[in-house]
Amino acid sequence: MEVFLASCVVAGVPLLFATVGELITQKAGNTNLGVEGMMLMGAVMAYVASVGTMNPYLTVLSAVLAGAAGALIYGVLTISLRANQIVTGLTLTIFGTGFAKFVGQPYLGKAVPAEVTQFFVKRPLPLLSEIPFVGPIFFRQDIFVYLSYILCILVAVYMYKTRIGVNLKAVGENTAAADASGINVTLYKYVHVLLGGAFSGLGGAYLSIVRIPLWQEDVVNGRGWIAVALVIFVAWNPIKAFFGAILFGGLSIMGMRLQVMGVGISQYLFDMIPYLATIIIVVFSTHKKRKESQPPADLSNNYFREER
C-alpha cells in the first residue's frame, strides 16, 4: 500500500508542477492553454541539457528557461498585443509539441546520462522518512519531488501571506480596480505568466529526466491538459493542488497496477479513468457555485486601460 502511494506521488509530481504553474497564471487573470506545449519544451530542453552538460542543476535550469520562454511568447501576444488567450494558448501547445519533436529527434530512445540520473536517485530524508506511513510515502523520494513540495508551500505562503500575493489576487479579480489602485498590472501579469511557464517546464523535466529517463516524443501525453482541469478541481488553491495531483497521479497508474494484479479488464479501459474523472470534475466544479471555488472574476479577459 505504502509502495503504491509512494508511486502515486511520483506520478503526481509533474501534474503538481504544471497545476501550480497554471494556477499562478490564472490568478493574474490569464488562462494559458499552452501548458502541454510548455511542459514538452521543458522536457526536451532539460533532456538536451542533461546530455550536453551532464549537470543536474543546469538540466533543471534549462527546463525552467524553456518553459518560461514558451510563456513569454504567450505573454507578449496576450498581455501586450491582447490576442485571444484561448487561441494563443492552443497555438503554444501546437508549437511546443513541434518544437519538442524537432529538437528531440536525434535523441529518440536514448537515455539520460548516468551523472544526472544518479543525482535524482531516491534519497530518504533523515528523521522524516522514519515517520510511520507518511515517511515511506512522501520522504523516500528524489530531490526533484522534494523541490515540488517546497515550491508548493512557497507558492501558498506567497499567495496568502504576502502583500504581492494579495495584489496578485486583485489583478485577477478586477484588473481595472487593481490598475486604479496603483498596481503595475502589466508587470504582475508578465511575472506570473512567466512563473507559470517555468513551473510547467519543471513538470515536463521531471517526466523526461526522472520518471522515464530516456527521450520519447510523447512523454507528456496529455498531462498538461489534465493540469488545466486540475486547477478548476483544486479551486485555485496550491495546497489542494498537492493532494489533487497525487490523486490524479494515482488514477493514471491504476490501470497498469490492476493489470499486473490480474484483474481481467483491459488496461486500455482503465487508462480512460483520469480523463473521465477530469470531465466529472469539470462538470461538478462548474455546477456548484461555492464562492471560494470560483475562478478569478477577470479570468481570460484581456485588459486594456483605455477601454474600461
Binding site: 511568447i73 492552443l90 508549437f95 518544437f99 519538442a100 473521465l276 477601454e307
Partner: protein, 357 residues
C-alpha cells in the same frame, strides 16, 4: 515622450492586407531564424518543402490528400468557434467517426453495392462524430460546463477506446496475433477521381455548404450572434441551448466524416491514431481564415503543402517533419500578434498629467 495606444477606426482594406502579409513574412523569417539556430539552412529547407509538396504530379496528389482532412476538420471547427465554443475535440470526433464507419464496413455484407455501403458508413460516421460533440455541447448548454477541457478529454477517451477495441474485441483473428483490426472489404473503400480519393470533392462541396450556411441561413446568423454576445442573443429571444447543440452536431458530424474518409481511403481499417493530429492542426487554419469557409480552404491547401513538404524533408534530408509544425505555430503567433496592429494605433506623444505608460 511616451507611447500611446489608441483604438483605430476602420482600416483601409489595402493597409489591412499589407499588415497581414507582413505578419506572414515575418513569421517565415522567424521560423528561418529558429532553423538557423539549429544549424540548418532555412532557404534550402523552404525550397525543399515547396519542391516536396508541388514538385511533381504525385506530390501534388499527396498534398491534396492531406488537405482533405485538414479542410473538412477546419470547417467543422469554424462552425463551433464562430459561436466562441472552443471545440478542441475534433481529434476525438474524427476518431469516433472512423469507428462508426469501421463498424459498418466490417459488419455489413461485402456484397452490398459500393454507393450504399459508403453512404451507410458516412451516416454512421456523422452519427458517432456528432454524439462525441453532443455530449460536451449539452453540458455546456445546460450547465455551463467548460467546453475546452471537456472536448479535449473526449479525445483521449475516444483514442483509448479504439486502442481497447484494437487489442480486444475487434482484433482481427487472421492477423497472426498482431493487434490489428481487419482491413475493409473492397466495397467500403472510397474510389478515386484523378488519382485522389473522392474526399476532395466532398472538401469542395462542404466548403461551399458551410459558406452558404454561415452567410445566408438563419441558423448560421444565430450562431454568429451567440458568438458575439450571449446577452444579445438572449435579449433577441434566441434559444441559446438549441443553437449550441445544433452547431456542435454540425461541427462534430463534419469531423466524423473526416474519420470516415481517413479510415476508408487512407488506412482501409481503423487504427487508434486515425486522426493523426489533424484535429489540432486544423485549429490554426480555421483561426487564420477568420472563420471564413472559403479562406479556410485556401489556407488549408497552403498548410497541406507545409505538412507534405515536411514529410518530404524527412525522407530527402532526414530532417524531422516537425519543422512544419514549428512553421505553422510561428505563422499563427505572428498573425495573432498582427491583429493588435489592425485594431490599435501606436503613436508617440507628450506624457500628459496623471498618465502612466
Amino acid at each position: 515622450m511616451n507611447l500611446r495606444i489608441t483604438k483605430r477606426g476602420d482600416l483601409p482594406k489595402k493597409q489591412e492586407i499589407i499588415i497581414r502579409i507582413a505578419a506572414v513574412l515575418l513569421s517565415i523569417i522567424f521560423a528561418g531564424l529558429i532553423l538557423l539556430v539549429f544549424g540548418l539552412n532555412p532557404v534550402k529547407i523552404f525550397t525543399t518543402i515547396i519542391d516536396g509538396s508541388i514538385g511533381s504530379k504525385i506530390r501534388i496528389q499527396q498534398t491534396i490528400i492531406r488537405a482533405i482532412p485538414l479542410t473538412i476538420t477546419a470547417l467543422g471547427i469554424i462552425v463551433a468557434f464562430k459561436m466562441k465554443f472552443w471545440n478542441i475535440g475534433a481529434e476525438g470526433q474524427i476518431t469516433m467517426g472512423a469507428l462508426g464507419a469501421t463498424w459498418v464496413a466490417l459488419h455489413f455484407s461485402d456484397s452490398l453495392p459500393m454507393p450504399l455501403m459508403l453512404f451507410l458508413m458516412m451516416l454512421a460516421a456523422v452519427f458517432c462524430g456528432g454524439i462525441w460533440a453532443f455530449i460536451p455541447a449539452i453540458f455546456k448548454a445546460k450547465m455551463g460546463t467548460n467546453e475546452t477541457i471537456f472536448t479535449l478529454m473526449m479525445n483521449y477517451i475516444a483514442i483509448k477506446f479504439v486502442t481497447y477495441l484494437q487489442y480486444g474485441p475487434w482484433m482481427d483473428p487472421n492477423a497472426g496475433g498482431f493487434p490489428k483490426i481487419a482491413k475493409f472489404p473492397a466495397n467500403a473503400v472510397l474510389p478515386s477521381v484523378f488519382g485522389v480519393n473522392i474526399g476532395w470533392i466532398m472538401m469542395i462541396v462542404f466548403t461551399v455548404l458551410v459558406y452558404l450556411f454561415m452567410t445566408f441561413t438563419k441558423k448560421g446568423y444565430e450562431i454568429a450572434v451567440v458568438g458575439e454576445s450571449v446577452e444579445t442573443a438572449r435579449y433577441a429571444g434566441m434559444n441559446i441551448s438549441r443553437i449550441v447543440i445544433v452547431a456542435m452536431l454540425i461541427s462534430g458530424g463534419m469531423c466524423g466524416v473526416v474519420g470516415m474518409i481517413q479510415a476508408s481511403a487512407i488506412e482501409k481499417t481503423l487504427i487508434s491514431n486515425i486522426a493523426g493530429g489533424y484535429g489540432f492542426t486544423a485549429i490554426i487554419p480555421a483561426w487564420l481564415s477568420r472563420l471564413n469557409a472559403v479562406s479556410a480552404l485556401i489556407i488549408c491547401l497552403a498548410f497541406a503543402m507545409l505538412i507534405q513538404g515536411g514529410t518530404y524533408l524527412q525522407v530527402s534530408l532526414g530532417i524531422s517533419s516537425a519543422v512544419s509544425s514549428i512553421v505553422q505555430g510561428a505563422i499563427l503567433f505572428f498573425v495573432l500578434g498582427s491583429e493588435f496592429f489592425l485594431q490599435y494605433k501606436l503613436s508617440f506623444g507628450k506624457k500628459t498629467k496623471g498618465e502612466v505608460a
